[in-house]
Amino acid sequence: MIALSRYVLVLGVIAAGLASAAAQQFPVKTITLVVPAAPGGVTDLIARALGQRFSESLGQSVVVENKPGASNQIAAEYVARSSADGYTLLVSPEATVAINPYLFAKLHYNPTKDFVPVAGLVKIHQALVTNPSVPVHTVSDLIGLAKKEPGALNYGTYGVGSTGHLNMEMFQAMAGVQMVAIHYKGATPALTDVIAGHIQMMFISVGSAVQPWKAGELNVLAVGSKERLARLPDIPTVAESGLPGFEAASWFGLFAPAATPSAIVSQLNALTQRVLSEPAFRAAVLDPQFFEPMPGSPQDFAAFIKTDAEKWRRVLKVANVKVE
């Protein structure tokens, strides 16, 4: 018995030694960034831009593997079951860890126990846009109109339980108004219908709204950030327009399977911080899309996720959005 436990101990020491050796050498082979979306979307874009810089700084190839489907569940489950060696990582929007747990009755992965947060990547502020034919120019105009004609206005979303849906549910709850959700398979068809006037409004990323806004095809009533955006100083925030505390933003993060050695997690976090702060990366990838980098340690990111998940839990409860 003693011999056996000593044997186990020795094995443990060797394993620990190997692990630290592995951490020092990391990476020795190709890293895979799993993306829970089809090629071409925002998540894919972020993963590819990041993967490109990772590959250049690590001297190892980094591939992006798209595993779309089932509200991120397929990719999440895949990464959760991959070996926790830092070579399989998940680049994911908030839904995987902060919305899905409260939206779905059951999930195929455990959002808190299956992953270790590596680093926050970018925050995408949302804009409240309306078709120019809607006779409102400010958020309070809109709330006034919606109160005068309850249930008469339609807004577009990119799916039940998507941030486009939940941000508007939060808006309705805080403003005490009622509007009708029209769901689309993706943000672009919804945006097309807002531009065409088939529906009146939606929350969409500032980056997607700016061009049609400049062309006069949309009105941007407000941005969902906490403070006004430096590059759009004339556009008020929703929070300052009568709904204090309102924030509509999506975020994307880098995750690893739960048992990934902390040395590798720190190494990947440091690398991410470096890439996100590079002026060239900012100018080429972040700024044109109004992406805001999310600096911080893995612990900061974990704490951020906790607060965010709590926010969505409340929104889903108040709005009574649940998928069986």
Binding site: A38, Q73, V160, Y184, V210, A284, V323
Partner: protein, 528 residues
């Protein structure tokens, strides 16, 4: 307006003909053409693989190359449809209906020749549209809201349900089966799962690629197992005889090409209506206007020329909303815009004024690329046809292998490989029972869009069915639907006999019939 467009185009040619841009365009169309021939391995997978390579080259070259893959793949896509009855990409599924019988008659080469020509005609119109009509078309496209799209899909379903040869009742039954298969997945308005049997992989529905390759490819392979040898020699012996379309062939197919082109360009404008719907609608329309609709499915050149022209004009037309609004029509277009975004270029209504080199360079490269594709494909036809000389015991297993890879690559998911096998086995059963699988695909493609837009229209109108007739564009489509049904009933009542007999007696069928019989009947009753 025309003068400025021509000046801009001239400038675009200047950009596209710069040696390095020309090179990227050529690489793009070449790669596209090759992956087009591989089953399932569509432009989406290819572009996402090539995307990292474009980080290092200037944005104009990158976009020219990626766009080249996109339309180049369409040229290759029809080859396996015609020669092997294997639709490598969903838009070309309908080409199988007449393309494969043509091959069986030894006229596969002619069909391929007509396809190249039809492709060029369709693409040329799509490009012309993009140059001169973009602003107008974008405005028109915005008129299509949920109610309009819903009525249009209904029209498509009605017109297309008798698309395949054989009993109309069986055709309708298969369309309905397609509608049912289209219901699988997540309910858009409620988020609940429908017919997924607890399989997460089915949450987003059955994959279109798996369905198309399963129903046409796998089912057809299984169907030919018992009768391999005689067919394989028969095709090749005759097919090398004539590769070039005769004057009569050209005359026969020129109007279908033009009609297909129009259908395709209309479809490209309507949001969510890609080349697959365009080719199906074009085929159905062609069958409607034809004087000999009963001969469709027996190897009519019209049945190849029309949908192919539609596919290509739709693919080129898809670039219009993508480039002028920044709103991608489908996943491939989204990926192209993603490529621009990685280069720091924000797509949107101002792209044309801010980056004229990209917009006009791209338009000019379309012309160059399409000419290159014709030059590439014409000499290749002979080689493709020789592919049939490969014994089936090598050809089919290797095709199956590529099918599996292609289906896997679509989503990086083994589940879909399983899907294609199950669908294939089921499709074989249907073939043996005399059901043609083409309408399944039609129902599957149109059904979900019909449902989605119907529910959206109902939500927006607060449950008032009147929207479908109050909105003028929608009303036109509804009227056409009523007319179509009315016509069917009228003809049925007026002369059920007169309608059926010519089909059986038509002398023109006789030269095709023997092959048709050996092919279609033999597998159904192998004992005979």
């Amino acid at each position: 307006m025309i003068a400025t467009a021509l000046t801009d185009l001239w400038y675009g040619f200047g950009v596209a003909l710069e040696p390095h841009n020309l090179m990227w365009c050529f690489i793009g169309v070449l790669v596209g053409n090759m992956v087009g021939v591989l089953p399932g391995m569509g432009p989406l997978a290819t572009i996402s693989i090539l995307l990292p390579l474009t980080f290092g080259i200037p944005p104009v070259g990158a976009v020219l190359m990626l766009a080249g893959v996109m339309y180049g793949a369409q040229y290759g896509g029809a080859i396996c449809s015609i020669l092997l009855n294997l639709p490598c990409h969903p838009p070309h599924a309908v080409t199988c209906l007449d393309g494969f019988p043509l091959t069986q008659q030894g006229r596969g080469g002619v069909a391929l020749g007509i396809t190249v020509l039809a492709s060029f005609v369709g693409a040329s119109w799509g490009i012309t549209e993009m140059i001169f009509l973009s602003p107008l078309l974008v405005k028109a496209a915005l008129e299509f809201g949920p109610a309009e799209v819903c009525s249009l899909m209904l029209l498509g379903l009605l017109a297309g349900s008798t698309l395949a040869r054989g009993s109309p009742l069986k055709g309708v039954a298969m369309t309905v089966l397609g509608l049912i298969l289209g219901c699988v997945g997540t309910d858009l308005e409620l988020g609940s799962e429908r017919y997924t049997f607890g399989l997460t992989e089915l949450d987003d529905g059955i994959a279109l690629v798996a369905l198309a390759l399963g129903l046409f490819g796998i089912a057809e392979f299984m169907n030919s197992i018992n009768q391999v040898a005689p067919i394989s020699t028969r095709y090749t012996k005759v097919s090398l005889r004539d590769l070039r379309p005769s004057k009569a062939d050209l005359k026969q197919s020129i109007f279908p090409m033009l009609r297909g082109t129009m259908v395709g360009s209309l479809c490209s404008l309507i949001p969510g209506t890609g080349p697959t719907i365009a080719s199906f609608v074009a085929y159905a329309t062609e069958k409607r206007v034809s004087k000999t609709p009963e001969r469709f499915g027996t190897g009519m050149l019209e049945g190849v020329a029309c949908p192919e022209a539609a596919t290509h004009s739709s693919v080129q037309g898809d670039f219009i909303p993508t480039m002028s609004l920044g709103i991608p029509g489908d996943a491939v277009m989204a990926l192209l815009l993603g490529a621009l975004m990685i280069h720091g270029i924000v797509p949107g209504p101002q792209l044309i004024s801010q980056h004229p080199d990209i917009f006009w360079g791209l338009v000019a490269s379309f012309w160059i690329g399409n000419v290159l594709l014709v030059l590439l494909n014409v000499p290749l036809i002979g080689i493709w046809v020789k592919m049939l000389a490969i014994p089936y015991r090598y050809l089919y297993p290797s095709a199956l292998f590529f099918v599996c890879i292609g289906v896997y690559a679509a989503n990086n998911d083994m589940f879909q490989v399983g899907e294609v096998i199950v669908i294939g086995a089921f499709g074989y059963l249907l073939l043996r029972l005399g059901f043609h699988p083409a309408p399944i695909l039609l129902g599957f493609v149109l059904g979900p869009r019909f449902e989605e837009n119907f529910r959206r229209a109902m939500l927006i109108s607060r449950g008032d069915l009147g929207v479908f007739v109050e909105r003028p564009i929608s009303a036109v489509f509804v009227a056409l639907c009523v007319g179509l049904i009315g016509m069917q009933i009228y003809f049925r009542l007026r002369g059920a006999k007169a309608d059926l007999e010519p089909a059986a007696e038509n002398g023109g069928v006789s030269d095709i019939a023997p092959i048709e019989l050996t092919r279609r009947r033999a597998p159904v009753r192998p004992a005979e």
